[in-house]
Symmetry: C2
Subunit: 329 residues, 2 copies
């Protein structure tokens, strides 16, 4: 009992904070929590690994934020309210400065979205973190990928592609006069939690775009058993072009680049006004970029010139294949 | 939509099985599940990393079993019924044979304990797996580490130390005539789920012994604000001695060795008969190894000879320190 606390235990303490919405939190064999009556629990888990999802010199505070944010994005995409999270952290050693900054970013995100961090594990090994998040959604109101209907409008939030632009700057593939927005999109993604909640009862189908619009739209179409047409001229390329990307690059990044965590959703044309109002309230750009069709399994790109239709290359980011530079396509 | 499935996607398919107790499972942004009325959700997460928790040549089927089993042990230690799990798997590459065997072991354990595997993530990197498990326990009936009272009996299930004996065999530290039981304890730990459930209403405090009896007893004492006396002659060393370990080694392994996942619990002397009946029903050895005391923070070992009391070395297994060989102590 006179046992001295090791560095390892001190590190654990950085992750022990008040958990006002939890019956019993870290420090026992399991946490105990109570799901509100009439609610389903939405659960998602994601790993970020060094070398695959972030560079070894990534700023720890940003990485802490992003580690939780990308997981909350999955809850947002269901229309769920974030409630709890666990963090399994694997570290090569007990670097207290790194851990303190990482925890700062992680809890900044947790605080912003009202998430109790209810437990975790710390292990020695090559750096990676696995987060499991828990959200609540009223029974039957979750927005899955499967409810899209032919004739639905297709919408995307924000400025997808910007994070991939930032990645290419970091990799030295391109040089931009102003890389600030692109790097911020890459390092500090904003999970669209409020948008996800506002879309309950409005959107028929939804998912978050983590692996590029093209690939993720493919997932939505497969789940909903529909096809889609994307209007090139409606794609929100403005932020990328303002940052100094040319139009061809910007389009490519939006369609194939990952790591943006915007919401892609399908909704009836009858709710366009409601959606415009939601975008205004949240001060978030919502772009109507196309529509769902009855041509099951066919995704077409409507080119601006003469409205020529051509099949879309649906390649997204894939961990077990060496990701080809998106600039070489 | 004509996208060919990659090896990576095929691997994911090994982990997609029926989930009869889940509203919506893998394949969307989040799983949706429903906690039964009147139940608290018990949540725990654990990482197993190659080199720290298992050797690179560990048999994948055993490793799959163990990955889930050690997590279910945490639910058992709360008296919770296992219900759901997520698996985040990090792999150096797409080795289909390894993955198929790993999945076989993992789902063997899931099937044995009625667990729906509701989601996960697959990432490229040095091999590790992080599981999050979810169990249900009636509100207020969970057995935490905090309820132990001075005068309570201390009990341990099974034959802790046997897994550490197996580890020493694997490491070449010792040679045994019959290493079968020791290796089985190491490779195929049995989470004491049924025992945990049977102890609801009987045990005052409980935890699972993953890091050695001494260290874990320290956790229980700290949480319950008590001390403890362990009777050396009551320690269940029989299996280790039958396997060929001498008594001093067996005692050391039981006190300081990890990876056994037996339950350590405190209960009133008034329920000794009930506990004996539970052990008989479950065909599981329950050993009464000591008692809790009012000497907060003091753990003593009562030696067989003359009942001499001496302080217990509470060192347990610690990831961020090079674990000294338990044979050199």
């Amino acid at each position: 009992m006179a046992r001295a606390y090791s560095e390892f235990e001190l590190i654990r303490r950085y992750f022990t904070r008040p958990t006002p919405h939890t019956d019993l939190s870290a420090g026992d064999d399991a946490a105990l929590l109570r799901v509100s009556a009439g609610m389903q629990l939405a659960v998602s888990t994601d790993t970020l690994a060094e070398g695959t999802h972030f560079f070894c010199d990534a700023a720890p505070r940003d990485l802490g934020w992003k580690t939780l944010a990308v997981n909350l994005s999955d809850l947002a995409a269901m229309g769920a309210v974030p409630r709890w999270a666990t963090l399994a952290l694997t570290l090569p050693g007990a670097d207290a400065v790194w851990v303190e900054l990482f925890a700062e970013g992680f809890f900044e995100c947790a605080g912003r979205y009202g998430v109790d961090v209810v437990g975790g594990d710390t292990t020695q090994g090559p750096r990676s973190m696995t987060v499991t998040v828990f959200g609540e959604v009223p029974e039957g109101e979750a927005i899955t990928r499967a409810g899209g209907l032919p004739g639905d409008d297709l919408w995307i939030s924000g400025t997808p592609g910007l994070a991939a632009l930032g990645l290419n700057v970091l990799q030295g593939n391109i040089h931009l006069a102003d890389a600030g927005h692109a790097l911020a999109a890459l390092h500090r993604p904003v999970p669209r939690v409020e948008l996800g909640l506002a879309l309950r009862g409005q959107a028929h189908a939804m998912l978050d775009v983590s692996d590029g619009l093209a690939g993720d739209l493919g997932h939505l179409c497969r789940s909903s058993n529909v096809g889609a047409v994307i209007e090139v001229k409606a794609l929100p390329l403005g932020s990328m072009i303002d940052s100094g990307a040319d139009e061809a690059l910007a389009r490519c990044l939006l369609l194939s680049g990952g790591d943006d965590y915007e919401l892609l959703f399908a909704a009836s044309p009858e709710v366009r006004e409601e959606l415009a109002a939601i975008g205004e309230t949240l001060r978030l750009t919502l772009s109507r970029i196309g529509r769902l069709t009855e041509s099951v399994g066919e995704i077409l790109l409507a080119e601006a010139a003469g409205n020529v239709l051509r099949p879309l290359d649906v390649r997204g980011y894939e961990h077990f294949t060496e990701p080809a530079s998106i600039l070489n396509e």
